[in-house]
Symmetry: none
Subunit: 268 residues, 2 copies
């Protein structure tokens, strides 16, 4: 046994150092630098395995390193599962080069990511930084949109000071809409992003959940979720020209009526 192994065991006594890993087994290429940095790895084969591990009371891990280079679908499923936990843990995703562009709309599923192939030192450095900053108040823990408040840590929601008693799917749907206020999402997009890519169900499900959300928001705020006919739904009175003032600086030599000067930053 190396001295590194020994010190890891000594450290572990005082602090839990377990990282949840995917897939099972974790490729040695990444398992080794993590182990060398003093972490213990608990590999799981997917979301189901993680769930059963949790049910059996094995909840000691303090973070997750998910490798999505081989099975992106299962990796994303696992990410989504981990995000549902009452006590979310820092989640690091490893993706292949050609899939970097795919991350764009899935930012909510992970806290940090690596691009494979990567320098051995990067992985533990990134985990370290992740743990450091999750202890910091950098990340937003609430989403506010007008009278609407979503607490991402406690999975609570409120509107106009009143608490909203939302179910899980209701919360997830509202949260997703609220993370991109104003943007219109098709039902299909919502099913993919909120229900999951492996979900196959009717699009009317979205309608029903929107309806329940509106009911719980109350008549006063029901209009926060707007229907865009033939397209989908969006949250709220989107202020759709917040960048106009920046644009105006570059267009100050434009002539003619209706120029940026008299354009107001409107909110509807």
């Amino acid at each position: 046994m190396s001295s590194a192994d020994l010190s890891r065991r000594l450290v572990k006594v005082s602090r839990a150092n377990d990282l949840l890993c995917f897939p099972d087994p974790m490729p040695m290429e990444w398992a080794r630098p993590l182990r060398d940095a003093g972490y213990d790895l608990l590999s799981v084969s997917g979301a189901a395995a993680a769930a059963s591990a949790e049910r059996s009371g094995n909840l000691s891990w303090i973070g997750a390193v998910i490798c999505a280079t081989d099975d992106m679908t299962e990796a994303m499923s696992l990410c989504r599962h981990l995000r549902r936990r009452e006590e979310p843990v820092p989640l690091l995703l490893i993706v292949a080069r050609h899939e970097v562009a795919e991350l764009k709309l899935r930012n909510d599923l992970f806290d940090d990511f690596c691009v494979a192939p990567l320098h051995p030192g990067e992985l533990p450095a990134r985990v370290e930084h992740l743990f450091w900053r999750t202890g910091q108040p950098v990340d937003q823990e609430v989403i506010e949109h007008g009278p609407l408040v979503l607490n991402l840590e406690t999975y609570q929601a409120g509107i106009g000071g009143r608490a909203l008693d939302l179910t899980y799917m209701e919360y997830q749907l509202l949260r997703f809409l609220a993370t991109h206020p104003g943007k219109v999402f098709t039902r299909e997009t919502l099913l993919n992003r909120v229900w999951g890519y492996e979900y196959y169900g009717g699009a009317r499900t979205v309608d029903v959940h929107v309806r329940r959300l509106r009911a719980k928001l109350g008549e006063e705020h029901a209009h926060l979720i707007q229907t865009v006919r033939s397209v989908g739904y969006r949250l709220g009175q989107a202020n759709w020209s917040p960048s106009s003032h920046r644009e105006a600086e570059r267009m100050d030599d434009e002539t003619g009526p209706g120029g940026p000067a008299d354009r107001v930053a409107l909110q509807f």
Copy 2:
């Protein structure tokens, strides 16, 4: 100003995103993918230069990408400076491989980091994720044409600061015309491109929609959609020749008030 510049100013799909960069100039290797992703780069040579830029009121940047591969000392100095700002901005650090281990003790100086050399797509993806998790609103994609503003994400439209309540087909038609300003489209072309290639319907449908659009644009802006007799419709360059359709039609021999410089050659 060239005609190309004019048209670019009138119509653009904008993501106004200024990033502070170090060093000056930013290495093309990283500047290019960031520019390609729609960011504007403001390079500074160090903390002092950033400070003077701030004093001169140039505070438009919304994030910073600091490359520490060449001058780690100055880079760290710049990081510290940015951290002292009243309104902190997301800060991404680029370090060389052999310096990854150095980061451990400086976690507080940056929000995220990259290890050089890196995949070109990683940089914008990381910036994107950084903005997402720090709660920065991602700028919306809009099309502007004079007083007309179309928000592609929210399916909203406005004219001269006033919101336009458009139906789905109205919006799609206006959007298509606005993405090719000045170009004349036959009714058949519009039916194909806006309604769909498999659409079989009367050409008068276009007329009716144009009429409704003009009505909603208001008398002041109704001329934005111009009729070209025996041909079709176009979204006009009415800023400089609002009085006469005839003049706009005969662009070949025109000697009008706008001058040749303003004549837009760009018919795409």
